[in-house]
């Protein structure tokens, strides 16, 4: 075999997660009433655009999760193949030129010369302090001063055109597959998409994809001969660093949430539902946990881990495995320390819900506590979980940056947004300023978190049966009622807003109800 697959701990967990997601999708597809709300997610324009971008990120992250050790040329004394100690991922192979084209030090995006002056030996033996040419960036240009801009422009445009061409192919494929399914012809499907009459907003997805394809095309063309986002202090390509960071961000965001959720859900709901001494105990636990500075707790645990790793080098075959185990423990520790706020929210919501009459009706049927929690309370608090986890996602990625700053974050050999931001601390302070590393980290994180937020928003709207995102044309039993409700709801806002008359300023109008 030319390579030896390596499954790191976090990889295993990611595969497990993917497996669970696939099972869930299969289960939902077979249940019409579960499928219906997810169809409504598909009707949301912003949600589907966000999902498209999110899927690109996830694809990059997933490629980066498939690890292996390439075989080396020589064999050992027993004639067995020897594998490199360096663990690579599929993404590394895809990005080989970016990974291997390492400059001496900082260079600006798309530059042909270094960002710092250095002493170079001229052919005539004399020395001169100047901006040296880059080893790889723009190395093909004879005269950078005249050809540089032209070359960049030409490459960007060609790349964009190629991207657009690929996009057109994809569009045609989509139309073809739609045509085969709906037994319409190709043109009808094309028209349906752009007249926005399709059930899923394909036009929005296609526009998003067009942007992505053009961007990827242009960058790919440029990246062969330039460092599109510049290089960092040791000359690594910032684009490569950013793409590699995506996996770490996704893992910290998802694994930590997964570790945190069982604590928060179980403890929060039990505390709110059973009250009494259970509530007291859980409240004391999270109040205590909350009062310990989390950085302290994390630092102590990570340092303990570090000592263990260093005293047991034989357990870890490669550096990557060592770094990975550290990442996993970071996730676990972050998860264990960050469930308290969600737990508190869930407890409060459950306290409110348990007094609802439908819970009491369930009690009157003798429904068991476990069923009440899982059938009545859990679905009604899911919106909080969804919002809180997405909000936490960005917080966790940032927490990783903070921890890296303190020195207890991910392993220094690992590339993450946290280490990039941490490095930017010095880069922003130097003169002239190195801005591109921070900007790249910012742009990637911003896009990722924004898309996650938009998608979560769409999911939350669709899963709430009380909110209608898709206009039902038939099956409207009592439109009048829902409208009168909408009317009174807005009346409340209006009455609350108008601080004009004292009477109305303090009054809220309510729909008639006898008590």
């Amino acid at each position: 075999m030319p390579f030896k697959p390596v499954i790191l701990w976090t990889d295993a967990l990611v595969f497990l997660l993917v497996f669970i997601v696939l099972i869930t999708i299969w289960y939902v597809r077979n249940n019409e009433h579960l499928l219906a709300p997810w169809r409504r997610v598909g009707h949301s324009t912003s949600g589907m655009s966000a999902l498209t971008v999110l899927l690109v990120f996830i694809a990059i992250g997933f490629l980066d999760t498939l690890h292996f050790r390439p075989a080396l040329e020589h064999t050992n004394s027993q004639g067995e193949r020897v594998y490199s100690v360096e663990v690579l991922s599929v993404l590394d192979i895809v990005l080989t030129p970016l990974r291997t084209n390492v400059e001496k030090t900082y260079s600006a995006p798309l530059a042909t010369h270094l960002y710092t002056k250095e002493t170079v030996d001229l052919p005539d033996g004399s020395q001169k302090r100047t901006f040296a040419r880059l080893e790889f960036g723009g190395a093909h240009l004879q005269d950078p001063d005249t050809e540089h801009l032209q070359d960049i422009g030409w490459r960007a445009i060609t790349g964009a055109c190629l991207g657009l061409l690929a996009w057109c192919g994809l569009h045609a494929l989509l139309c073809l597959s739609m045509a085969r399914r709906s037994k319409n012809n190709f043109v009808q499907c094309f028209q349906a998409i752009w007249r926005r009459t399709t059930e899923i907003p394909w036009h929005a997805i296609l526009i998003t994809l067009a942007f992505i394809f053009i961007l990827i095309g242009a960058i790919a063309m440029l990246a062969v001969h330039y460092h599109v986002l510049g290089t960092d202090k040791v000359g690594q390509d910032v684009l490569y660093l950013s793409l590699k960071s995506i996996r770490i961000a996704l893992i910290i965001g998802t694994l930590t949430t997964l570790i945190m959720l069982p604590f928060a859900l179980l403890l929060g709901i039990t505390a709110g539902y059973f009250r009494g001494w259970v509530d007291d105990v859980i409240q004391y636990i999270y109040t205590t946990l909350n009062s310990i500075p989390s950085v302290l707790l994390i630092a102590a645990t990570v340092l303990m881990m570090q000592v263990y790793i260093e005293t047991h080098p034989e357990i870890f075959e490669t550096i990557a495995a060592r770094a990975d185990i550290r990442l996993l423990f970071l996730c676990i520790i972050l998860g264990i320390t960050s469930w308290t706020s969600l737990c508190r929210l869930l407890r409060g919501e459950t306290l409110k819900l348990r007094e609802m009459e439908y819970i009491q009706a369930a009690h009157a049927f003798g429904v068991s506590h476990w069923r009440i929690i899982s059938r009545h309370i859990l679905p009604n608090v899911m919106y909080i979980v969804l919002i809180a986890t997405v909000m936490d996602f960005s917080g966790l990625v940032l927490a990783e940056a903070v921890l890296s700053y303190v020195g207890v974050g991910v392993d220094p050999s690992m590339i993450s947004f946290g280490t990039m931001i941490n490095a930017a601390r010095l880069e922003m302070a130097r003169e002239p300023m190195v801005w591109w590393a921070l900007l790249a980290a910012f742009a990637f994180m911003f896009t990722l978190v924004l898309c996650a937020n938009l998608f979560a928003d769409a999911v939350q709207k669709a899963l709430d049966p009380r909110i209608r995102t898709y206009q039902y044309n038939n099956r409207q039993l009592n439109q009048g009622l829902s409208q009168s409700h909408a009317a009174t709801a807005t009346t409340q806002q209006a009455a609350a807003q108008s601080s004009i008359t004292p009477v109305s300023a303090d009054t809220v109008h309510r729909p008639p109800r006898q008590s």
Binding site: L477, T491, S498, T501, Q514
Partner: protein, 688 residues
């Protein structure tokens, strides 16, 4: 004519969703100075939108598209917003339905009234304070000098509504718009507030636009009545004419759907269907689809106004002598179907026996949560319900009615006493032991909006009980088929039983109206085949016509399946219509208990007498002198010493404040706790 307000062809549109909703469509009315004008209609008819259009306080989505609102001849719709501010609170004031939500909890009462005075009268501090005190005294707030500096949460519901009225009066308006001013209040408090409104109106000579759905309130207050339906006024008349002879079929059916004693064992008239969606384009009469007298013309031509007598006019083709088919002329009293009133043989053993039931909630304070007192929500209640009968538990809010119902089902653990159902003692049973009995006792909750889980489909809601209690099919289905039905079939049968289409089971609760939701809640309770159904104010959140549907349903269920009801309510007319026995509760204890005819016709306890007289009567001929109760319900945390009712009782004696009266037996089935009646036949069962 001394016209104060003239609305001409008002059209208000709400831009919500895809279709604009025409909440008010071509409404015209005239209010004279010093007159009380009642706008009557069911929820969703556009009553409140009319009021908000007059004040120009519509929500952002609302738009007044056409019409004129002339106040003293000036069109307020043409005024700029700045001049509108001088009108609001000064010329027109408004009071809202929920006094609890209408006052700012972080401002004192005085500060809130002061805002009006500062805006409109530019009063200086001392003068303003004096005026605030005057206003509060005018609305009957005792100890106004001290209480004006208190916050709204320190006032009771009735007192808050008084404060709201004081605030509305502060600018000395010429028109007071009262939007359901008493709907959220108890009957005895309602009569106090209505009384106050009348007094204030006479003193200040202002006009009142009273918006309500309660025919009783209209008959007590109004001089002119306008009935609103689907955004337009369909009938307008002076009160006497309206109540003597309602002309529009809708008004007639509203009267017919009111429950009353005379209609016992009869099905109530029901207006089929629901108020039509206001977003559609109407063609013809808006009520035609639900009208029993509709004929072809009703469906395609919009009816015009037809005068009947004097200023009694109606919008109905039946009164157009040119077109109306003569034989179809509606008669004021609609013939009712007489249901089978089966005289059931009285059972010897009561199905449910409640003895000395007490529910106390401890009040905890301090670091160690020490118990410093008890809220005695239920303090020794004894009831007997016989199979197939209906017992009504009546009382004001906060008297512990609901707690009694929930503690019978062991949803709230009783502090003392026992509940025997069919020979089983329920108190102290463990959860698992109780489960087999759960199927026999079920509960229907007050608010159909919070009693159904919004995230479960109807089929899941209905099957929940069957699954939990492992019941295959409700008994009512075995009549139709011998083989046991599958659970899904059982759900179909249940929906059919409560009059909902079978397809409804795939939907979520929010897709249904209040009445439909309450039917689902009843179906859910029936799913486990109960024998006793505890109904906690099942109709209080619903409109009159929907209430009639639910009451009919309950009646049918009792006739067909021999269900036993414990009916918890504050609505006396529903009690008169439905109940066999009545128990009147006051502050956690039953003060009077007896058969329905005994108690209603011959109430003995002063509280029962006051409660019955406070109910607004539609029939003005029975002009019973109203017994006014002072003050509010005391806190159950510190009930008055002696008879709980003595501080409010018009016939209190010195002995009343010393100890709680024992039961006075009036007849074998009728007893009361009052010193006015001889105390000799005391039974230890009712002692405390």
């Amino acid at each position: 004519m001394n016209t104060l307000l003239e609305i001409e062809n008002l059209k208000t549109v709400l831009h919500t969703g895809s279709n604009p909703v025409c909440a008010v469509d071509g409404l015209s009315l005239t209010i004279n100075k010093g007159e009380t004008f009642a706008l009557l209609g069911e929820s969703g008819c556009g009553k409140s939108m009319t009021a908000l259009s007059i004040m120009r306080l519509l929500p952002d989505t609302g738009e007044i598209q056409a019409g004129a609102v002339r106040l003293n001849g000036n069109d307020v719709l043409q005024l700029p917003e700045a001049s509108m501010r001088r009108i609001r609170g000064k010329l027109i004031s408004m009071i809202f339905q929920e006094p609890m939500l209408s006052l700012n909890p972080v401002m004192t009462i005085a500060d809130q009234i002061d805002e009006v005075l500062k805006q409109h009268l530019k009063l200086k501090n001392d003068a303003a304070e004096h005026r605030i005190m005057e206003l509060l005294e005018q609305v009957g707030i005792p100890d106004a000098r001290r209480r004006m500096h208190e916050y709204s949460f320190q006032f009771s519901g009735g007192m808050k509504q008084r404060v709201m009225i004081a605030m509305a009066l502060a600018g000395q308006p010429e028109l007071l718009i009262a939007d359901e001013p008493t709907t959220a209040l108890d009957v005895t408090i309602q009569s106090q507030v209505l009384d106050l409104l009348r007094q204030v109106q006479q003193q200040n000579h202002m006009a009142i636009l009273l918006i309500t759905h309660d025919l009783g309130v209209v008959s007590e207050m109004a001089q002119m009545v306008a009935v609103m339906y689907a955004g337009e006024i369909i009938e307008q008349a002076p009160r006497e004419n309206f109540f003597a002879q309602p002309a529009h079929p809708y008004s007639q059916q509203l009267f017919a759907s009111l429950p009353a004693k005379q209609k016992r064992h009869q099905a109530l008239a029901v207006i089929s269907g629901t108020v039509p969606s206001l977003s559609q384009q109407f063609k013809g009469c808006r009520f035609a689809d639900r009208c029993t007298h509709a004929f072809a013309r009703c469906h395609d031509t919009e009816p015009q106004w037809h005068a009947i007598a004097g200023n009694h006019k109606v919008r109905c083709h039946l009164y157009d002598s040119a077109v109306a088919p003569v034989q179809n002329k509606p008669i004021a009293d609609i013939a009712l179907k007489t249901g089978a009133a089966l005289p059931q043989p009285p059972a010897n053993e009561p199905l449910l026996q409640v003895n000395g039931l007490k529910v106390h909630f401890p009040i905890r304070k301090g670091l160690f949560k020490r118990v410093v007192g008890q809220v005695k929500a239920v303090d020794g209640v004894s009831l007997n319900i016989y199979a197939g009968k209906t017992l009504a538990l009546v009382g004001e809010s906060g008297c512990g009615k609901t707690t009694v119902g929930k503690s019978i089902l062991q949803l709230i653990e009783p502090t003392a006493g026992n509940v025997r159902y069919n020979g089983h003692e329920l108190v102290g049973m463990r959860r698992e032991q109780l489960r087999p009995l759960r199927a026999q006792l079920q509960f229907v909750f007050q608010d159909p909006y919070s009693s159904l889980n919004p995230r479960m489909r109807i089929i899941d809601i209905l099957q929940e009980g069957m699954n939990a209690l492992d019941i295959d099919a409700p008994a009512m289905n075995t009549q139709t088929s011998q083989t046991p039905l599958s659970r899904e079939k059982a759900v179909d049968a249940l929906l059919d039983c409560v009059g909902l289409p079978v397809e409804a089971k795939w939907r979520y609760p929010h897709e249904f109206s209040g009445g439909q939701r309450q039917r689902i809640a009843i179906a859910r309770a029936l799913a486990v085949n109960p024998r006793l159904l505890i109904c906690d104010e099942p109709t209080s959140a619903l409109d009159v016509s929907v209430q009639a549907q639910i009451l009919n349903l309950l009646n049918t269920l009792q006739d067909d399946f021999g269900l036993t009801f414990l009916f918890i309510t504050h609505n006396i007319s529903v009690v008169e219509y439905l109940a066999d026995e009545i128990a009147v509760m006051y502050l956690g204890r039953i003060v009077e208990y007896g058969r329905i005819d005994e108690v209603i016709e011959n109430p003995r306890h002063p509280y029962t007498q006051a409660l019955l007289s406070a109910v607004p009567m539609i029939d003005q001929s029975v002009n019973a002198s109203m017994i006014k109760l002072k003050g509010d319900l005391p806190s159950p945390a510190s009930p008055p010493v002696g008879c709980h009712f003595h501080p409010r009782c018009p016939r209190a004696m010195p002995v009343c404040s010393q100890s709680y009266p024992a039961a006075s037996i009036i007849s074998p089935t009728h007893y009361t706790h009052c010193y006015l009646y001889s105390q000799e036949h005391t039974t230890d069962q009712h002692e405390h």
